[in-house]
């Protein structure tokens, strides 16, 4: 395969996760009134981060198993 899609995908969702979780920690609680009082940025940010890291991990594992010439 030309470019392992899991690599850019993992990066992108890792960045999204960090952005959202970071914003969730820093942001004012008041904005979560509309999301039923749940800090969705923090929780979903963590979920996205996990997804991104798993995707990156899988891509790196494949790259290691088959070293490029």
């Amino acid at each position: 395969m030309q470019l392992d899609l899991r690599l850019p995908m993992g990066f992108m969702f890792t960045i999204f996760g960090l952005l959202l979780a970071g914003f969730g920690l820093a942001s004012d609680r008041a904005i979560y009134e509309r999301s039923l009082g749940i800090n969705v940025n923090l929780w979903w940010g963590v979920a996205l981060l996990a997804f991104g890291l798993i995707s990156l991990g899988l891509a790196l594992r494949t790259a290691k198993a088959r070293p490029q010439p």
Binding site: Q2, L20, G24, R34, L36, V40
Partner: protein, 569 residues
């Protein structure tokens, strides 16, 4: 509706997404060496990517916005588009049709028609398909720009030109691979962007039980039995018993058989994704793999619509009202996004929405440039040139395909009726197509004349049926009845569409058989090897474990779909 204010974090997410989209195009550029790389990804895409792209190419504006709108308007019955329509058709295309598409080495659906039938059948399909894709891409662009104008207050022209420019750049650089990779990104973005919305909405209305209770009130308020919004099959015995205005036969035959099979089996936009797969086995598994997430998509795209209408009922007004006083169902998703998501997640949700519009456009553009270059340019304008020449033409076709889409987007703002009319004409062209493919693939006696004139008669039959029937209390015109007399009144547009498709398919099927029997067969058995079922060696999956075989996968997919149908009976 009140406009949404985006914060810095929302813009940051949007910008990161665009950077990755364009970055993928830039990286993939160096892998595009010949025309097959550009148009068919060099047939090197692994199954899971091809499968998700197969699913995602169809996940454009129409799907996300339209399915949520239907979920609000018709409730749970909308899931028939998935559980009766798409899934069985996807299993069929994977198991029965992919061996011909992939095995014949045809580079496009029209090219298969030329190999199997003749030049004129291919020409008819190629030209109508090319026009249709450019138009759909334009309509996608128009819808995105209108939505952004309404929801975010963004300038219409900026939105059109910006979305066109981004799609242009990444396809121009990376060709089909770029489009496919971005479709996969978009798939995950949609799932991960909309899931929190659905979960929050569901929690707010009190879970499935709370939603059912609300929707029962909606149903009785509209004059139906209490479960009309929450059951898929129970209210299908008569058109008057459900908001969709259809009965089980029209639904199963029109939507389930003709329309869905016609779309998933013959539309090059989706078939192209499987043709790009790395092997025959991968190509056959592509639609089957796509079917698994597809069967769960009602939870992401239909459920929000149902939640929106439940909230509308609870609060005595949630969706903005249109000019005629009915709720504007198309705004279900944007209104929910604005209602539940705080800055941050809101950016993610909007990015997902924009991604879906753009990949809808990109899918159309990649299908257009392939059909244009191989089936129109190489066949009728300049045959016998070098591969480099056609690769350059592919780049050029990407530019003018997007240019034409922009024109179509602007034409839509001025002449809404012309666009509706053209879409209607294309619906007439598409409705009978599946009959042609079915006969072509399973009956070696079907001839080129039979196929061409069968298609033509099927198209005319569709137009005639539409012209002689009317839905609801619509006035004669675009909605039907334009042939002077109205022979049949349908309870809804949906019912009329289903029956138009049934009439067109039946006419094409019967006409193709009759004309084929009356005309001489020109293709010998040898020429039809690999194109017709009886003359193609069976795919032997002997070397594969039972759970790796496409047939097993197909049975599992159909079994799971059956279970879903029973749960929501």
């Amino acid at each position: 509706m009140p406009q949404i204010q985006l914060g810095a974090i929302d813009y940051a997410i949007l910008i990161v997404y665009f950077a990755f989209v364009l970055g993928i195009g830039v990286v993939l550029r160096r892998y595009v060496k010949n025309s097959e790389d550009f148009f068919l990804s060099g047939r090197s895409i692994p199954t899971w990517i091809a499968g998700l792209a197969f699913l995602s190419a169809n996940l454009g504006a129409q799907e996300v916005i339209g399915m949520a709108a239907s979920g609000a308007k018709y409730g749970m019955m909308t899931s028939h588009f998935y559980w009766v329509g798409a899934i069985p058709a996807m299993v069929f295309v994977g198991i029965f049709m992919m061996p011909f598409y992939y095995g014949s080495r045809a580079r496009s659906v029209p090219e298969y028609l030329r190999l199997r039938f003749d030049e004129k059948t291919r020409g008819f399909n190629a030209i109508s398909f090319a026009l249709m894709t450019v138009l759909s891409s334009g309509i996608s662009m128009y819808a995105l720009a209108k939505l952004l104008e309404l929801v975010l207050g963004w300038n219409f022209h900026t939105s059109v030109l910006l979305s066109a420019a981004i799609v242009l750049v990444y396809i121009f650089l990376g060709g089909l691979t770029s489009a496919i990779y971005n479709e996969v990104l978009q798939f995950f973005l949609i799932v991960l962007g909309f899931l929190p919305l659905v979960l929050l909405g569901l929690k707010d209305v009190g879970g499935w039980d709370g939603l059912t209770a609300r929707l029962n009130t909606v149903a009785t308020g509209a004059g139906y039995e209490a479960g009309a919004w929450t059951y898929a099959w129970r209210h299908l015995d008569a058109p008057s018993a459900n908001p969709m205005g259809v009965e089980w036969f029209g639904m199963a035959m029109g939507l389930g058989f003709v329309l869905s099979f016609g779309y998933w089996c013959t539309d090059f936009l989706v078939v192209q994704r499987a043709m790009a797969a790395e092997s025959m086995l991968a190509a056959r598994r592509t639609p089957l793999l796509a079917a698994i997430p597809k069967m769960l998509f009602p939870a992401l795209v239909i459920l929000p619509g149902m939640i929106a209408i439940a909230l509308h009922q609870r609060a005595g007004g949630f969706l903005p009202l249109g000019a005629d006083g009915t709720p504007n169902y198309n705004l279900a998703i944007p209104v929910l996004l604005a209602h539940y998501l705080p800055s941050g997640l809101l950016g993610l949700g909007l990015t997902a929405l924009m991604a879906s519009f753009m990949s809808g456009m990109a899918g159309n553009v990649t299908a257009f440039n392939t059909v244009w270059t191989y089936d129109i340019y190489q066949s009728y304008v300049a045959p016998g040139r070098s591969d480099r020449h056609y690769l350059r033409m592919g780049h050029a076709a990407t530019v003018f395909g997007i240019g034409l889409s922009v024109l179509a987007a602007y034409a839509t703002t001025r002449f809404n009726n012309i666009m509706d009319m053209l879409q209607l004409v294309f619906a007439f062209v598409n409705a009978p197509l599946f009959a042609t493919f079915l006969l072509g693939m399973f009956w070696r006696r079907a001839t080129g004349h039979g196929a061409f004139f069968g298609l033509l008669l099927g198209t005319l039959a569709a137009a005639a049926h539409h012209g002689l029937s009317l839905p609801g209390d619509a006035l004669p015109g675009l909605k039907g009845g334009f042939l002077g007399t109205v022979l049949r009144h349908y309870p809804s547009e949906m019912a009329q569409n289903f029956w138009t498709a049934i009439v067109a398919w039946t006419t094409c099927f019967a006409a193709t058989i009759m004309i084929s029997l009356l005309t001489r067969r020109r293709k010998s058995d040898a020429e039809l090897t690999g194109l017709v079922y009886a003359l193609t060696p069976r795919q032997t999956d002997a070397g594969l474990a039972w759970y790796q075989r496409p047939a097993t996968l197909g049975v599992v997919v159909l079994g799971l779909t059956l279970v879903l149908n029973i749960i929501f009976w």
